[in-house]
Amino acid sequence: MSLSIFAAALLNPNLPAPVGLTAWNGSDPAQRFRVYRNNVIVSLVDALADTFEVTQELVGEELFRAMARLYAYAHPPQSRLMAFYGDEFPCFIESFSPATALPYLADVALLEYRRVVAYHAADVPGVGAEAVADVLADDVFLPALVVSLHPSISVVASAFAVVSLWAAHQGVLELSAVAPEASETALVLRNGIEVEVLQISAAAGAFICELRAGTNLGAAAAEATGIDADFDLVAILGLLLQKSAITALHPSGSPS
């Protein structure tokens, strides 16, 4: 019996137990194999339930576990690091028809996954006031300034109230007060050892994505102002500095 046959049977309940299995006590190997297969899948479903807590609360345990089970069969882990298991789960949810009644579910799941990723991102200290003063001293270079952001940073731009829905499940907000159809953009970052979820404007989200892509400050700010004339550059830069999320400033353009 080859490992690939064994693995295929493990992930497809419609396949019979691999030929050649024996049980130590003479019991039916097919029955023992079904128990093992179930344990494997249940452990993966449990792992998803750990990461996607709010998602589970939104759909209820029964639907969540059914959905997670299908995901586990279709997307077995590619890494032994279970913390990162479920990276494709938000996409899976998006195309999972029983969940279409909750169109915001995939985005909430994405937010939850990004929190885990932020938790495990590398530590990089934020820039201090001196570094900012240095670049301010020569302001002709400011439009070309390239800004490095903390590795934990990510933006979840949603057509739904992704931040409020998530916050309502942290006891911060009453769920009944949340209008799920209001578009919200989430900024996820880790400041010190604490992962934070902050609501920012769509334009500020675009600004951060531009900076992450290496766009210089002048062009990124112009892009954001183009999206929303009310884009508040001071507020978002202030927030990033306050959260130690700006890790380097490169006046000459490209990061070293």
Binding site: D46, A47, L48, D50, T51, E53, L81, M82, A83, F84, Y85, G86, R115, V116, Y119, H120, A129, V132, V135, L136, D139, V140, F141, L142, P143, L145, N191, G192, I193, E194, V195, E196, L217, G218, A219, A221, A222, E223, T225, G226, L233, V234, A235, L237, G238, L239, L240, L241, Q242, K243, S244
Partner: protein
């Protein structure tokens, strides 16, 4: 769309942002937090690190002695813990007393 902002306006924004940011920054720093054992509710301990990590929401009972939450410094020993021998959270792991 490719118009870029002037150096002066960017300098103003960055300068003003510094003032915004210099409001109490360190609130989330480890420096003024302490690890507090025995005050996390079941499954709500702070070290949410995803599935399979040793400590992600793994505390199986309320006020488990070896599970900690980050709490503002100074508040730990004022937080009631049913299982702690002192009746309050402690700054080190402890063996739970029977509640």
């Amino acid at each position: 769309m490719n118009k870029t902002l002037t150096a002066a306006s960017l300098a103003f924004a960055l300068g003003a942002a510094m003032t915004v940011a210099s409001a109490p920054v360190a609130a989330a720093d480890m420096a003024d937090k302490e690890k507090c054992y025995g005050v996390a509710m079941k499954g709500k301990n702070d070290c949410k690190a995803g599935a399979g990590t040793t400590c992600a929401g793994t505390s199986k009972m309320d006020h488990q002695g070896n599970a900690w939450s980050l709490v503002p410094k100074g508040t730990c020993e004022k937080t009631v813990s049913k299982t702690s021998p002192s009746g309050y959270g402690q700054l080190a792991e402890f063996k739970e007393k029977k509640a």
